[in-house]
Symmetry: D2
Subunit: 401 residues, 4 copies
């Protein structure tokens, strides 16, 4: 039995909604949330939980739906066959990519039907590309995943989490062959992709490749993501290109990252807690994204259901509705009226939370970090695909660097 | 179908385990976790989700079980009738406390049976006490809850989250009548209870009242909680009292709190993110608690399943086992061996994570906060039980203070 | 030619002033200020500059006078013979303590006469004490210094910078023999002296030994110094002892120090800059000290002339005058009215500066430090007096600790 | 009698030294240091102390000489007639600019002769320029000052502290007429001047105008100043222009400033303490400046004598000498060998101080500030020259902005 409370309507497609001027709210970050719940392994970050622990994946999807997500993205991140067998990952021995991806689609569809949400299938960057295996080999990976998505009749496709626009363009080309709408997002920031292509040029290339929606996901928090989407919009405007815009930033503060984003931060992935956004940070993100003109407003790693709910609450005047989850949340802290202690009740007001500067409680820590900057990118031997686990000797060598 | 992988053994009781010298790992914080998932309302913090959204509660319980919890505590926090109707909370209109508490017990039992976990029922401080209704009225609240726990045949009882030892002693007296083992924890720190009773004297009173396990939960992070448990142990040792020790601290850093704990922090409850513990903070907590002699080592608000897993992993040498959830977690970051990027693989080592000082990414914020200090306590009119919702006029008056 | 503008009056003594209920403002920190100006060596911290660079010492004294100091303390800190030859210090080869102390008195008198200031001679803790040489040897050091002070006819004597109240009592006894008023200050904080005597008991001992003024100097910033003077006052009040109170705190923020004070901070002495007080911190210190009842309100290491001026400006209503130096300082930032830029002119107001929370501009640094805690105290071989310089081998041994 | 210990040699001029490949070390910040000593008023920041308190100015000059400065810059900052009577400044009523500037030259010459230092006269931006009075009126101000410098036969001239390169070029043109070498420095950062001219273009314009030395002073700390000098060097290299390079940065950390520099920081000028550089920051600055190719390496506001000494000590291998002031300073903390406490002796080593991350002791403060950004520049009415003091009504109006 589902807990979603959305009224069932005849489902309209992604392009219909966007063309009608509606805001589409994405879902949050599955891999990080499921890692914390115990079902995804940090390191490989592969999605075999869709087969192994479907209840856990389904529950998280329902929470995003309840929080206001209009899209249930099948939990297929890094679900390509070459990734499932990379560097000692044993998932592939147990489940092929096709099985994992198909299970993920089933869950997404089941939950989407409980509300009025769209189902999306997604592909992301491949070890094959980093290994320099060439366009054909890379597109073969995408094709295998797309076949599963089509078999499961998803509503649209997403090419996401690409560090190099070249590979993203290859993905868009392949996904467009399905006839489904295609959204394409890079995991880059204002400094552009890892081959030195500017953010603006990246956007133009994606739009020209046929992406219906163009944008950014992961690797950067809202501030830098919005800084980059502005550059992308400006470049596309200049060329007369008008795809819809999409942002799915991290749920972390990243003022100190460089070109490669948060994986360069020393805190990645097990010490990011002090950087987690508050719900009020998400209000700000949603408002600013909307004002820039982004209409597919979503979230990525670190964004939990309550973050998505904050996005939906901020945009409730524009959307004309609050999410089902607001049943358990007073807007702008209003629920604190029911708190036992008077000084906590005194916090039941918007200006209190909007202006709060939250302390970290960590006086022995720096406030900004110095990101790693190995400058290793596509083609480097350390990035090659490899089925064997990393040995102690290899690790020792890395520790010296 | 459960995802827990623990071998089923004949279940041994709490006192059997503790008397055998075993470590008992508690579960984490339900109200905060379920608030973020969309099922609990911040402000009243009441547990009607056990009736309304049993799937969501069950899923969280399973995650704690999988993380290594030996105890499934029924989700009955603040589940007394007087709380469910306090200050405009409408839950009581729909569900009596008995129904909510009973549903919570059912879920706890179901999940506990999937592993080898104990089931606990808990009572906590009541609006009646704060309103000065007297011992009989207060104990009546506890009695009603205890009856439900006995009907559901829980394994043991917890009296937790008391700011005044007097009320906790009343709870222990009432719970002891059931014949079940009783654990009693206060939500106080090193400065003692809100009536000025020292931490040491509080412990002595609880032990003398018959509590089998004595300790602390909530309101303070691990550092202050352990500072206080040391004081409690010393005072009980001096009196020759030897109950088992228990700690269930917050999953937040609280170096700057006063006597009242984290609810006095300006960040409570919607801006605590920068204070969230890393898993490595939990390793440190677990080790230190163990060394002090605490054997019931648990967690409270802000502690998510991965925090509990870290506690279980730290104590795996002593316990002789790792939790089921470690299937998806390399000890001390070892899973990063499978990461694509070499500089992230270089973080697959204990000393890296043990010594990391994580940055907050918030250079515009203070690092420590100045807690509110209204000094309002039991007997004050602002703390009286009240079924009506707080009005705008009442709020305005509070804003001025 | 002096620059001081104070009207010449017949000079009244320290006790006359204090007995009349007046505030006596001390001077600031000579050794730290002169180290930054190039005339004192950090490490030995000895005052031979009084002989070697009298112009530089005189100029600093004039600046303190101009800032509002009512006392010119002869620059004789650590001027005992045993200190001047300690650990490779070559000063003693060139100048005996008597010559240095006498030169310092001459400078202090010359400058004091330019205003209406008192001249004080001071003794401080000795290597002999730390080496366990016994009362007679230690008092011999004080006696030799006192003789110089008497020859130079100073107005009163100060026994300052003692970590052990025992040695301070010996100093008071010796200084009292001169018949001059004696002020005695320890460099301790709220945790008491290094032998474990509480701050309160320390004060009582000093008062009973005959000190006319009792208090604290150095090692702690204003906040902890005032916390400790409160304890001292309470203990003396309880015993009916009523000496005048005196505080000369550091010009540094020290929220994170332990019992030994700022020399335990990793930043001591060459990285303390981020902790330097603003003038507004000094306003707050002066007001609070006054309200506690301190009437000898001074300053120590890190306090520059403008800090002393801030103390004098804060207390100008009580004193009925502003210092000469206020000719070049608009109260509460008022001089900014004359700034070229309008947004800087907009800062010409008290509430702006009173509420400013100044940023450090150091996001890569911690905010609080972990002090060293070697726990080495009187009697330990590492503290013994020693005329030879520290060798490389000895240093290496220390680095390992 | 001077305290400088430098051997007297026949004095060689600025260009001789630079052409011979020597490093020329500038002096530090007079206005800020003298403000803290009580002789300069923050707000107007004018240099009438050269007449009123010559001893104080002379003492500071001697300290810079002793610290290693090769240049004694006459204390004539903001010494133009139009500035001395701006916004209620009464200095002009008492002393004409000519008298002040002449007195400053005399002091600089006297001290320079005690060592082997050069004497420089300087002009800086004028209220006339900000008021839009035109080239002729502005150059008239410079001409009057230059006449004084020539009468006093200074060794070279400095045009410094210009926010608009246009005015700096006018100054260079005027100063070049004297036949003396001319150094020109802007108070801009990497973002260029306030009219939007890039840092590179600014440098090119100054070099083309005939400046023998081109660079930057004030408004930015070392990091941003060196970032900007790199841009200036690159642009001049491209044009084949090869003036010598000069940097005189602030003694403050300014990672968070915008185009206008530190006067936009909320801490300017009375709350900058937490940003003060350590001596080790100056070592780093000196080394990096040298490596970029800067040969006139100096300092500005906030740089005290010990900061200049650190610059001279860092470059002592290249210069073949240490400054006289090093007599009282062990390189890299070596003087701590003579400290009484063993854990402080253990800090007598380079790697300790080079790696120290100093804590601010201010956990209630932000770490970076949000600079004001009024965007008011030349031509705006709020910047017009005005002899009347700012009224309360005008202030009130500013407070609203």
């Amino acid at each position: 039995m589902a807990d979603a409370k959305k009224p069932r309507m005849e489902k309209r497609g992604l392009m219909e909604r966007l063309n009608a001027g509606e805001i589409v709210i994405g879902d949050g970050g599955y891999v990080f949330a499921l890692e914390k719940r115990g079902y995804v392994k940090a390191g490989p970050w592969t999605p075999e939980a869709a087969v192994e622990f479907p209840d856990a994946v389904r529950q998280l999807a329902r929470e995003f739906l309840r929080a206001g997500s209009d899209v249930m993205q099948a939990f297929t991140f890094y679900g390509s066959d070459d990734k499932l067998e990379n560097r000692g990952n044993v998932s592939q021995e147990k489940h092929t990519g096709a099985v994992v991806n198909s299970a993920a689609c089933q869950i997404a569809k089941e939950v989407a039907d409980e509300g009025n949400a769209l189902v999306a299938g997604g592909v992301s960057q491949t070890p094959n590309y980093l290994s320099g295996s060439g366009k054909e080999a890379v597109q073969e990976q995408f094709r295998k995943q797309a076949e599963v998505f089509i078999k499961n009749d998803v509503d649209f496709l997403i090419a996401e989490y690409f560090e190099h626009v070249e590979e993203a363009v290859w993905a868009v080309e392949e996904l467009k062959k399905t006839g489904k709408p295609v959204a394409a997002t890079l995991c880059i920031g204002p400094e552009g992709d890892l081959h030195g292509v500017s953010a603006g040029d990246c956007a133009v290339q994606l739009a020209k490749a046929g992406a219906d929606v163009v944008g950014l996901n992961c690797h950067f928090g809202p501030v830098k993501t919005l800084e980059a989407i502005r550059l992308m919009k400006a470049a596309m405007d200049k060329e007369g290109l008008k795809p819809f815009l999409m942002t799915q930033p991290l749920g972390f503060k990243t003022p100190d990252v460089g070109k490669q984003g948060f994986i360069d931060l020393p805190e990645f992935p097990f010490g990011l807690e002090p950087r987690i956004l508050t719900r009020w940070d998400c209000h700000k993100y949603a408002r600013e994204a909307y004002e820039i003109g982004v209409r597919y407003i979503g979230a990525c790693c670190g964004m939990e259901p309550y973050h998505v709910r904050a996005i939906a609450e901020e945009l409730s005047p524009e959307r004309g509705c609050t999410p089902a989850g607001s049943q358990k949340h007073g807007m702008w802290g209003d629920g604190l009226r029911q708190h036992t202690k008077p000084w906590v009740r005194a916090r039941a007001r918007r200006d209190y939370w909007e202006n709060l500067k939250p302390a970290s409680g960590r006086p022995d820590c720096p406030v900004l970090a110095k990101p790693d900057g190995w400058g290793v990118t596509q083609g480097d031997k350390d990035l090659l695909q490899k089925t064997e686990a990393t040995t102690d000797a290899e690790l020792q060598e890395l520790f010296q660097k």
